[in-house]
Symmetry: D4
Subunit: 214 residues, 8 copies
């Protein structure tokens, strides 16, 4: 694993055959976690042919091998999806953090149009050492969450939306201009990058931030 981290294989743009060959080579290194991201059905089949016990999260379009993630260390990573359409990208982030060895929790469908939903999850959010917030359309949720917690918020813009969302440009710009400090932006739909960053932030620490800081 590059720098002690899991190896990641980005399947999009590779043929199932190419992915299969990589999976075959991976079998020789059970000490390193390998993630296959953006894996379509054909890719998944090719991986499972070589690594039959690989874990497959179909929603996240991700496979992991060996199937068991490391025992969780470091602080909690909470992954938030603004809407159900943001779920695939959010789950990619969550699985990445989990296979990098962090404890993780998922929160879904807490868009800013219904504030009570995000406010209802404040306890969980405040237990986190890093929060990933996946949102498309107006990308407003990371600003709101960053105002509610004292730890870094990884803002993950998604291409959910149409028209003037311009494939995720609208939430990306909104997140770069978040009016609360402590927001770390990653590329559009880059669940893997968001999960990796959150796992790095939450590494080497177990305790929640002290209450006084909130």
């Amino acid at each position: 694993a590059r720098r002690g981290y899991p190896e990641a294989v980005y399947c999009e743009g590779k043929t199932p055959d190419q992915v299969g060959s990589i999976a075959a080579a991976v079998r020789a290194r059970p000490d390193v976690v390998t993630l296959f991201t953006r894996a379509g059905p054909g890719h998944a089949e090719a991986v499972r042919r070589e690594l039959p016990d690989a874990h497959h999260d179909t929603d996240a379009a991700l496979l992991a091998w060996p199937p068991e993630p490391p025992a969780p260390t470091g602080g909690l990573v909470v992954v938030v999806a603004a809407g159900t359409s943001d779920l695939p990208v959010a789950r990619e982030a969550l699985q990445t953090a989990r296979y990098l060895g962090r404890p993780t929790e998922l929160v879904v469908d807490v868009g800013v149009a219904g504030l009570h939903r995000v406010l209802g999850r404040l306890d969980l959010l405040r237990r986190a050492r890093a929060v990933v917030v996946a949102a498309g359309m107006d990308g407003a949720l990371p600003s709101v969450v960053a105002g509610l917690v004292a730890v870094p918020v990884v803002a993950l813009p998604t291409s959910v939306g149409y028209g003037a969302a311009f494939g995720g440009l609208a939430p990306l710009l909104a997140m770069l201009n978040a009016c609360a400090p402590g927001v770390a932006v990653v590329n559009i739909d880059n669940g893997y990058g968001a999960g990796h960053l959150a796992a790095q932030i939450a590494a080497h620490i177990a305790a929640p931030p002290p209450a006084g800081e909130r």
Copy 2:
């Protein structure tokens, strides 16, 4: 007045002399309210020379004559400024609605990074027949407000911010992608347009929306 509305004179790009001539001509029509918008100090002086009793809101860079707005009719227009930097544009909206004859209220510094502030003004917001929300940077506030009230929200993006705010483009796109329905977007920094639209929406009605609808 065009279609019964006040006449508006956009001063930017006109010389003080040109504005002064228009002001002189206006004096003959005290039955129509005339607004001078985007009026710098030189413009203001030129207007006051011809119309000494004109009302001058220096924050809004706007003058109005005759100085007294019409007696308020229709529903309440609440104008919200996310931050203090959004105040000039917000005040331009407020004055426009006021001189079109609506009752108005102003709410300042209720950005989404501190949700308690906007939640603390919910009673006022829910008395409105139309709400104007001026915000720059991430432009997240109109989505939040539209989720809290049942009446139309006029989203007014401002050029407040820097870098990837791109002169107001970031909040403009966010507002066009607002995840709550009932959001009406106007041009960047267009306080006059926002106030005019809100006044049109709130015309011909006095009662607040029935409680059941919230």
Copy 3:
């Protein structure tokens, strides 16, 4: 229904199965109108299997259940389509306003290249409490209509056009820069949002605007 409004299910990006499950759940709540928007043939079939009497407007790619809209209250909403290609988006706006409980009328093919056509419908336009104008290409029609009526115009840019229309960007920018006041812009192809906004504007009022105001 959130805040007394109909519930909306955005089908694009959902599988027919997912939509079918939502439809099954909806059956238990006949007191709330549910709209299924952007419903392809597969989605429609899935809805009809669970809610056989759902109303299906194929042009608008929309289903509604219960099939009967509420008895109309509030002011008239007129929906204008600049060209026949703007019709699907325009009909989505119209159905949304209708199922939110407004009386509605449709006007088609009145582009600015033939002014007599829009001028010929002036009587109807002036009876409206809110006008939705759907237009692609140069997006010029909302400016023209807003100059002809005293009530708010909801400008609905469509992705109709090619080349430098850039997927609706050209009409979107034109509408944001409308040279007549009283124009409320929504996202490209967002018929649902336009109809919802118009219905909110026209709520709680039955009388047309007084003649003197025009």
Copy 4:
């Protein structure tokens, strides 16, 4: 003169001294009309020092020498300015066409928000062999005019407007997407180019288009 046309000296970005030297050289060629465009006060003074009888249109920021335009030949060029802010650019177009030898007429302040104004000038517009329409903001006027006349309309976007006008981009895109055929677009604020094109179109013809074609 290049190809029999007047010579044009673009002053912006040149020092008054450089422009003065060109003016001195021009004196030797009274058979060719020379236009000095985008001439600030300093440029104008430098030209007048060398060519004291040069014609100076301060609104258009243009000087011409010899001061007398050629006797008009070809068809009528009508130049239309949507608003008074478009006037400088419109006048640059008009003077260019005039010094290329066309008969010209100017029409001002006929924006689409008040259709009666442009409809009131229909007779003049229909006498033209080419119409230049200068407009900023929503750039809607060329579409409307092109629908009213049978001859080419030169659409001249101006940088008038703010916010999402993006320095003339909004009207430029609108004009490129004009929904009436017969619209020829030039660069933003390019009055010289618009006037030159219109003069080329109207050359070698005197008669108005036959009535039957409208």
Copy 5:
């Protein structure tokens, strides 16, 4: 025919059935030329079923009925395609001008990378009353042609190219910034618009421009 011009039916985005119904209605008006543009194989079949003798230019994806164009009047329209990939769009322009009643000529594959090719067609180009130049990629050809002829050049950007051509944006911007005067720009791939404009420019004149003007 709108204003004496042929009627145009834009097939893209219409079903073959819809196009067939229009074709059936057209049959009653043989006095007007009708053009079906952007017609795919299905559209073409639907038209031919109703109007079996319609002329079909498959390269231009255009059908015309009645099949015979009017007897040519006015000046010559020369249509130039920079490369063979620009040919479909160029032919659409040519057919449009031809069915509007102009004499036309086509020149192909004269890109600026081999100047001798365009210089070799100078005689033909100088006989034109209007020249349409279709070009993608760097969009350099209209500037070159406009420097060689004294009549208007209609610059027709095409979406030919890739990468930083951005779907025709690169040649569009180049053409708007053409360094020779007399260039009229139309929308990307808008062969119909270019041909229509050229036909309007060349109407009512038969003689070539006098030699002295070149």
Copy 6:
């Protein structure tokens, strides 16, 4: 201080008088660190008049009061400036992290065009718990640094550069597309935001990451 963090006053767009009033009010709260960012000479003078012992970092255009930062806790924050022109923004980040209570180090002029320079500082970089990398132009340095260290890299694009740097857009996009994981992007020139985020990441931990992880 909002949430236990220092209070920040953004001076740009405020008058010296307004900043002076805030400084006067601040005097009553010596328990909270207040930062005045983007402070021009006039702003600085106004602050110093009220808070004579405020610390003034002229390069960073920042003042802090009380002048002494908190005793450092948490992990080391290393701030890297690719070139000397990136120094002001880098220093703003450094001071922000320092006044939030982190130990900090600065590394200057280690652009990727001379790799030996950044490689020569590897020991220091690997002692950090968070690294801020400020870079303009091609924005390549964060990718390189993220490949060399195991902790999060806060990528801070600057508006240094010209032409196709488009005010920082080029490095912003490069950083969002960093080919190494663990990169957190903030807004262009947003030194305050970068320092704040790095300080949050490095809070509550003192030990460097274990050697095995590199």
Copy 7:
């Protein structure tokens, strides 16, 4: 061959039949190398039917005939692919340079996230007379390579990446802003153009640059 160079046939956008006809015509000119670029399976089959011994590089989607490249002359061209996804475009560049008569070498998977990989190939890179660097995402590699060699670097942005890579725009801008001098940028995915340019640079010279210059 145009100017002594190979003839290139761009297959994308041509039918297999059209490409086949060109291949048939080519058979008569074995003295000129012809390259068929961007050739899909259908195109390749059509070429092979006419020119059965044509060389087919399936990775590069390129065919060449006659199959033997000229004997290598001039300096060495090294083609570098940052990642394996950049390989097709890199190979197109390499084959183009090879069939223009240069000696060539390929270096793969040396992205900046693992500097040791590019540093490990320094000897080869410094033997080159021109280096082509193909990279997507952050486009950082050309800056790094240009800092390591004294000869020109042809920067070849690829559309590899997603989200804010915007189809290659991000690496394109990064490369145009390369912080080391000596970088020559070509269009996105334009392997043919990069190889051609490198071959021109390396023509007429065999010796490596003298050691002192590095």
Copy 8:
């Protein structure tokens, strides 16, 4: 000098004092050529105070010391300016190439609107080993020149132009899409980069390309 090349000091964004200090330090290294680029009058004065015999090219806003360029070696670099407004940037390129040790020639005012001008300089152009072409507006000249010569053309877009030139974006895109191979693009207004690249291309060769290749 970095890698044996002259040292360059980019003055824009530095104070005269800072530039003066660099100049003082430079005095100790007469063996290396130092270029001060983008030097305003204040910068120039500061340099001359320390290095009184420095060569100052005011048009290029560049100073060089020692004043004598190296004896020319390698192939000829020809720098072409499309218009007189492109001259400052073109001269910066020329001086850079000259102080890197190449023989240089300048060609001015050969825009594509008058082809005879560039064709009249063909002999000189064909003697070059590298040609720099500076052009704004439509950026068409590099395509034309690249079609006329067999050596690399360095395309140097300038910010000359207005409106839809968008600060050099239009010529930049045109040059990236040049329809002749052999075009190397650099950043907008980057005369230094263009001259440096051309000098690298033309290094180590004296002979002109053999005649047969043209």
